[in-house]
Symmetry: C2
Amino acid sequence: METVMERECSALGGLFQTVIGDMKGSYPVWDDFISKASKLQSQLRTTVVAVAAFLDAFQKVADLATNSRGGTRDIGSALTRMCMRHRSIEAKLRQFSMVFLDCLINPLQEQMEEWKRVANTLDKDHAKEYKKARQEIKKRSSDTLKLQKKAKKADVFGRGDLQPQLDSAMQDVSDKYLLLEETEKQAVRKALVEERSRFCCFVSMLRPVVEEEMSMLGEITHLQTLTDDLKTLTMDPHKLPASSEQVIVDLKGSECTWSYQTPPSSPSTTVSRKSSMCRLVAVAAAN
Amino acid sequence: METVMERECSALGGLFQTVIGDMKGSYPVWDDFISKASKLQSQLRTTVVAVAAFLDAFQKVADLATNSRGGTRDIGSALTRMCMRHRSIEAKLRQFSMVFLDCLINPLQEQMEEWKRVANTLDKDHAKEYKKARQEIKKRSSDTLKLQKKAKKADVFGRGDLQPQLDSAMQDVSDKYLLLEETEKQAVRKALVEERSRFCCFVSMLRPVVEEEMSMLGEITHLQTLTDDLKTLTMDPHKLPASSEQVIVDLKGSECTWSYQTPPSSPSTTVSRKSSMCRLVAVAAAN
């Protein structure tokens, strides 16, 4: 009977140690997670900068189309809408990388110190209590053993009144074992709860990050309409829209008008929009 | 009459030159776009690598939870699903960065050479034809002027049969102007179509990129269920699931069992899962 109880208490103690051991052995995994998350986060930060620069360049292309002489204004404004939607995505990405750092990486780093402290305390307290309980049981057991020998000897001469004392001692050892078993069960539960609460804590830090990630989704859904618009607008590149034909019609009998500039003998010069406008004004004034 | 027609032809020629000038002036904008897009693309490529490393680390955290002694297996499998979904997002991001390069950046770079060639040809051909037409008109105009003077002189002595010749010459100049006007209109249309087709070409290169971007969306939508699952599982960190209690119950009367190891005097050692398992087997064998 005692051996079975002893083995069960020892098994619970062993399970407790294994759970604590698992937790202590997990630090390199958490450290690696924090390190890889930090690298990804700094990568995201530089990506946001590259996205911003790219969108500036994209907007300039859209402006080219918008500010043309009439043939591509429609495409220009669709491209501008596409660019603006990506500005929102850029903002969400920036927000995402912030939350990644502020809600997950930094708090997790801090939390790990607490985890280490708690696991060590649990382990130390358990070892101390287990040792104390075992020593007490050992002492009571040896007392019982002595009493049993005494009773055996006494038995030869008649048991006398040792039996109730022996029963009580054996009951005491048994009670102590039951108490230890209960204590150990509680210790195992405590260790399991500590282990589980670590992952709960991790999930609670992860969730706002995933939520930020998902909120990028709202921006992306709008892209479908925009890309459909662009597809329709650019369906036939060789057909000019009515607005372009209008530019040619408007030219006729217009007060303020263009004039052909005889090109210099060198291969054609690049005329910027601004200088064209100046020339236009000059010609209009001259007329 | 002639002055009005001349001015209109000149206006059309000027518009043509402005459109061509706009196109020639746009190369720095396109170059900047390609440069910023390339930088973003290489940034995305390194981000994909960082995401992959992060997800490896994330999976190890999920494995920690899955391989625990019973208290967190449910959280572990939810985290694994979350990780797998992000593997798909990683794959989409990789695909996106490929398409960005292969469908937009590289083809646009090549296309620009063609654009430059076409714009130069349009400009040169137009200048040549315009010059030729103008010279011909000038010659006919001066012929007509001479004929007019001759007719004026002849008028003094009686017009004779010069009038039909003069009418025909004036009609000829007028016809030539009408022809030039039509030619110029066609040239302007050609230039506008070339300008528009550039943006149509750009959009056709942009669309597969946006489509890849949107297909990442499909992956993100699945995250909602996963994050909801995790929320439910981790609602109460201090309540052990039934499976954990079962571990304690199963221990009792189990054949293969744990045993408490008296800790060494040094502060508790880190026990890896592997060594725990070895110990478990050893204890089971010893019993």
